[in-house]
């Protein structure tokens, strides 16, 4: 049970690195996406390479497993929507949190938008596929026939 709290130190490391690498700043992200600065791509590429090598070695050692996902339409449509938001704000969900953590007030409209977007998605998926997950009690009351 306590293991879930281990998310906290990993998150702290993640947040410090995102801040220290400048990813919190929309100017840094814009500079990268306009191909004026290569830092983001080197940073991102070396992160993926490190994770990839580490995970492949761990899998070979039998310590971890995973199943690659096949491409579905939602991966593309969702990423188009996400990309518009990311490109407009020049911030994605991790850096939005470090903005809040750094005390940047402009992070607040972003954060409220993200929470609203997630909420709208969850609401919509409950309406279209109410029985896909075992719904908690409060949700069962609001969905006729789910119980």
């Amino acid at each position: 049970m306590r293991a879930r709290l281990l998310g906290l130190p990993i998150g702290i490391a993640f947040g410090v690195v995102l801040s220290w690498s400048g990813m919190t700043s929309p100017d840094v992200i814009r500079g990268a996406l306009l191909f004026e600065d290569s830092y983001l791509f080197l940073f991102f590429g070396s992160a993926v390479a490190t994770a990839s090598i580490g995970l492949l070695l761990l899998r070979r050692a039998g310590r971890v497993t995973w199943t690659p996902e096949r491409i579905e339409r939602r991966h593309i449509t969702g990423s188009l929507i996400f990309g518009v938001g990311w490109g407009a704000a020049d911030a994605c969900p991790g850096p939005i949190m470090t903005q809040i953590g750094q005390g940047i007030v402009w992070g607040l409209p972003l954060l409220s938008g993200v929470l609203l977007g997630v909420y709208l998605f969850v609401r919509r998926s409950e309406e279209t596929e109410p029985a896909s997950e075992p719904a908690p009690l409060a949700a069962q009351r609001s969905i006729p026939g789910a119980a």
Binding site: G7, L8, A47, P68, G78, P93, T98
Partner: protein
């Protein structure tokens, strides 16, 4: 950006190690959007018994705070080109809308820059590779478009 950047060859691998730690500890992808989702889900149902994804998100927030304390302030003032080139009353609504697209889009795609971009591409998941190419391409196009327009 007001503070010097950590060298990419230190910052990148450090981020990669976070992805490995999450796989070892929770047998899952490191995805920041999952934390937002977990909080929205729990709070809606009147619970605060958050799982590791929400704790990771709280950690990211705290990481930002620790950085700002150590660096003597936030990494930037204003909000990039938006507050430089646009009327300030427009900026908050634009950011709310951008946030909605970020949250809704990431949930639809099953991940954001960390879940699909970082963790999914690291295991060469076809869905994540397609998602990552799509959102990078889209975000690049949006930035060139806004630079041409404003």
């Amino acid at each position: 950006m007001l503070h010097p950047q950590l060298a990419w060859y230190v910052a990148g691998p450090a981020l990669g190690l976070c992805v490995i730690a999450v796989r070892l500890l929770f047998n899952a992808r490191l995805g920041v959007t999952g934390g937002y989702s977990e909080i929205v889900d729990r709070v809606r149902h009147g619970s605060l018994a958050f799982d590791w994804r929400a704790w990771l998100l709280f950690g990211v927030l705290l990481g930002g705070t620790l950085f700002a304390l150590a660096a003597g302030g936030p990494d930037f003032h204003g909000y990039g080109w938006l507050t430089r080139d646009l009327d300030e009353v427009l900026v908050a609504p634009i950011l709310v809308i951008a946030g909605v697209l970020i949250g809704y889009g990431a949930k639809t795609a099953g991940g954001c820059t960390s879940g699909n971009g970082l963790s999914g591409t690291a295991i060469l998941s076809p869905a994540s590779l397609a998602a990552t190419a799509t959102f990078f391409g889209t975000a690049i196009a949006i930035n060139f478009l806004t630079r041409a327009l404003f």
